[in-house]
């Protein structure tokens, strides 16, 4: 699954649903919702891509969350070679980690005891911090945070993140 789906969030969603005895359909819907944020990320990166539609579709597969920052070359511009260069090591690491977990999973301690689940928000925090240089970005971040907090208890997982992309409209209002 890590080799051909390559969306950690979608994979975890599938495991959560199937692990709890949910149906195949529920698992697919949950994973699709969680992966829906790649629609928005694809919209951000799309205009930077050149070449035929097939090539762009394939290049789009290299998109991960961190691409939003790591592959950036200008304000609204992204370098495709940077995108692939930044994602390839992550892909190999993700795949190797999955194999390692299958082989040695029994013998490693509880990842939560090591605080490993706190790594994800800290990593995204570092990435978003570099974004908050101007007022429009800060307003966007605050509104996105509020949208996510409000929607977590009432919407299925995945919806809060994709809905938070609407915060760019609030940011736009204070943009100069």
């Amino acid at each position: 699954m890590s080799a051909i789906v390559f969306s950690g969030a979608a994979q975890f969603a599938v495991l959560a649903v199937l692990g709890a005895g949910g149906s195949v359909i529920t698992a697919i819907v949950a994973a699709t919702l969680v992966a829906s944020r790649f629609l928005a990320i694809g919209v951000a990166l799309g205009p930077s891509m050149r070449g035929g539609a097939v090539r762009r579709a394939l290049e789009g597969q290299a998109v991960v969350d961190a691409s939003l920052i790591l592959a950036r070359t200008g304000e609204a511009r992204y370098g495709v070679r940077r995108l692939i260069g930044a994602t390839l090591p992550q892909y190999l690491g993700w795949f190797a980690g999955t194999v390692g977990g299958v082989v040695a999973g029994e013998s490693i301690p509880d990842p939560e005891a090591l605080g490993l689940d706190a790594l994800f928000p800290a990593f995204f925090l570092v990435l978003v911090w570099t974004e908050l240089g101007d007022r429009a970005a800060r307003v966007t971040a605050i509104v996105a945070t509020l949208i996510a907090v409000v929607l977590i208890p009432i919407a299925p997982p995945g919806i809060p993140v994709i809905a938070a992309s609407l915060a760019v409209l609030a940011g736009r209002m204070v943009q100069r």
């Binding site: 699954m1 051909i4 789906v5 979608a10 599938v14 959560a16 199937l18 195949v24 697919i28 994973a31 992966a35 928005a40 990320i41 694809g42 919209v43 951000a44 799309g46 205009p47 891509m49 050149r50 762009r56 789009g60 939003l68 950036r72 304000e75 609204a76 005891a113 605080g115 689940d117 706190a118 790594l119 928000p121 800290a122 990593f123 995204f124 925090l125 570092v126 978003v128 911090w129 974004e131 908050l132 970005a137 966007t140 971040a141 605050i142 509104v143 996105a144 945070t145 996510a148 977590i152 208890p153 299925p156 997982p157 809060p160 938070a164 992309s165 915060a167 760019v168 940011g171 736009r172």
Partner: protein
């Protein structure tokens, strides 16, 4: 169960491919109008902020306050002190792990 996993994996391979391809295929190779660029500039701030919130406070559909929040608070201090990314990550994991050993 085992068969279900493969069905879901197969379907999600196609769905994820499609989701990631839509933006590049629809918008690739053309220049967006100025207002479109201005919105795209703000997208990373929106998506990454929401990811921070979800990864810290969500447990399924419940809002929770656990060791991850302490880890994030410590990470914020480290980021504000201009620590390197590796230090920030170690601080976050260490804080969450430490709190869990105590409680």
């Amino acid at each position: 169960m085992k068969q279900d996993v493969w069905i879901v994996t197969g379907v999600m391979t196609v769905v994820c491919f499609a989701i990631k391809a839509v933006g590049p295929v629809a918008l690739g190779g053309r220049d967006l109008p100025r207002w479109g660029e201005r919105l795209i500039v703000l997208l990373p701030a929106a998506l990454l902020s929401a990811l921070v919130v979800v990864q810290t406070f969500a447990d399924g559909k419940a809002l929770v306050l656990d060791a991850r929040a302490a880890g994030l608070a410590a990470a914020m201090v480290a980021v504000a002190l201009k620590a390197s990314i590796l230090v920030v990550l170690l601080v976050a994991a260490g804080t969450a792990a430490g709190l869990r050993t105590l409680t």
